[in-house]
Symmetry: C2
Subunit: 287 residues, 2 copies
């Protein structure tokens, strides 16, 4: 009998992320159980094979689990981590999948000393939510950020790295503050600028704007199509870093607009060239 690469896994929250982790682990022969408040989600997760069983009650499952992934919106996750921490067996490892880390790490730092905890953020997502959209390939090639807490030890580090790798992702250890600052710039602020572009276009004109909108606008605003509840959660739980990213952005944008208004072609072209060079360095041209 082959030894499982992970302790017995429990996923708390069976949406896109939790379901996709379940499916990915199943493909490696790892047994996964689930807890969710929603009976239909549990039923669907079992039917799809994302979990082999589960419950609507944390108390039924947490005590038997060696690795518990809390995969819910950030504030719900923080509440769940406290509840899970109180119910978990000694030595159990808790991790999460939230897109901001400082609030989560603060909650993990005060868990009972009998449990271990590692912050986590798989950098993958879709503009669709729910177990229906779960996909074992969701994390393929993605970065899975891991963050140390007061409750992290050598073994929990290794287990969480294995979890990430079994899902097809590359683990990357990043401090919570550094992480939150970076995702504010590349994820949370772009979500708000996408929404603001749509709302401003709606202010500008009724029908013509939507009639003329081509692929550039579609790409620029794709993040605005996401689930509002999730988007609000992201922004609210990373508000200080978001405000800093916003200040940097507002400065750059007003420099660009001022150059256009002042007919300063040299300056405008220079700024656009700098942005184009930097972006081409990241993704290659035209992608």
């Amino acid at each position: 009998m082959t030894r499982s690469p992970l302790p017995s896994v429990l996923v708390v929250g069976l949406g896109l992320i939790g379901g996709s982790v379940g499916l990915a682990l199943r493909d490696h022969g790892v047994q996964v159980r689930g807890v969710t408040r929603r009976e239909d989600a549990l039923h669907k997760a079992v039917m799809r094979g994302a979990v082999q069983g589960g419950s609507l009650e944390l108390a039924d499952e947490v005590g038997n689990a060696g690795l518990i992934l809390v995969a819910a919106p950030t504030r719900t996750s923080i509440r769940l981590l406290r509840e899970v921490g109180a119910l978990a067996s000694p030595g159990a490892i808790l991790t999460d999948a939230c897109s901001s880390k400082q609030e989560v790490v603060r909650a993990m730092d005060v868990l009972p000393e009998t449990v271990r905890a590692v912050g986590g953020h798989p950098m993958a997502g879709r503009e669709v939510a729910g177990i229906e959209a779960a996909d074992p390939g969701l994390f393929e090639g993605a970065t899975w950020v891991l963050t140390e807490t007061e409750r992290t030890d050598e073994e929990s580090r290794g287990v969480c790295e294995r979890l990430a790798r079994l899902c097809g992702a590359e683990p990357l250890w990043v401090g919570a503050e550094e992480h939150d600052k970076a995702v504010a710039s590349i994820s949370h602020l772009p979500l708000l600028t996408a929404a603001a572009l749509v709302l401003a276009a709606e202010d500008a004109d009724s029908e013509l704007v939507w009639r003329l909108a081509a692929s550039g606008f579609r790409d620029s605003t794709r993040l605005a199509a996401g689930e509002p509840e999730m988007g609000a959660d992201l922004a609210l739980t990373n508000a200080p870093a978001l405000a800093e990213a916003y200040a940097l952005f507002a400065e750059q944008l007003s420099a660009l607009v001022d150059a256009a208004r002042g007919d300063d072609k040299t300056r405008l072209r220079g700024l656009l060239a700098q942005a184009a060079r930097r972006r081409q360095g990241m993704y290659g041209g035209g992608q």
Copy 2:
């Protein structure tokens, strides 16, 4: 012998747009000639079959053309329209492909009364430029904005509509001011916000930001990968409308950021839901 659906066509400027028009018209058996200052572009356009011949000098070609499409950056196009207007045969029809229309229409309004002129803007583009990227399918299904000028008559209206349709696009008559306001919102401002997101992310952090950037950031900043010269031209020739669109956007974005900073989840979720609904109405969810 079948009568050509268009008068003899001359394309001035053999880049992505001019080359793609040439290729699309060739597929309908329309003969196209070209003028460009760049010998290599003319050579490539002939080799690819985008034009059947041409010259580096306007004077060699303009007098023989019935329909002249000026397909260059906006300010170059305005200069070229004046030169073409002076050289064109009586009755010749001039049109353009610039992404702002008020400056172009003002230039067309003062052309010699012997010529006819219609503003044009095919709403299609790529983040790559040059005749190398020309594609006969570029305009397939796109909207091709047409704008009346003091030099527009019934026949020139019909000819420009046929030009758009032969390229696979749908002609749409829109006033210059209305057009410029709409494209400021859906095209020129998103270009600047994309650039500002890249520049602000660069301010925020060195390596981590680029390491963590996922598909959301890639989509949000795609427009920033375009040609800086072209981008600067777009913004400069539509600066007043761009400044208005920017004011609306800045107001919406600051409302979103304020709601996040103030921990006002109801307001933030409400704004994001409004944006998501509006965008889903345009493109469908998740696209």
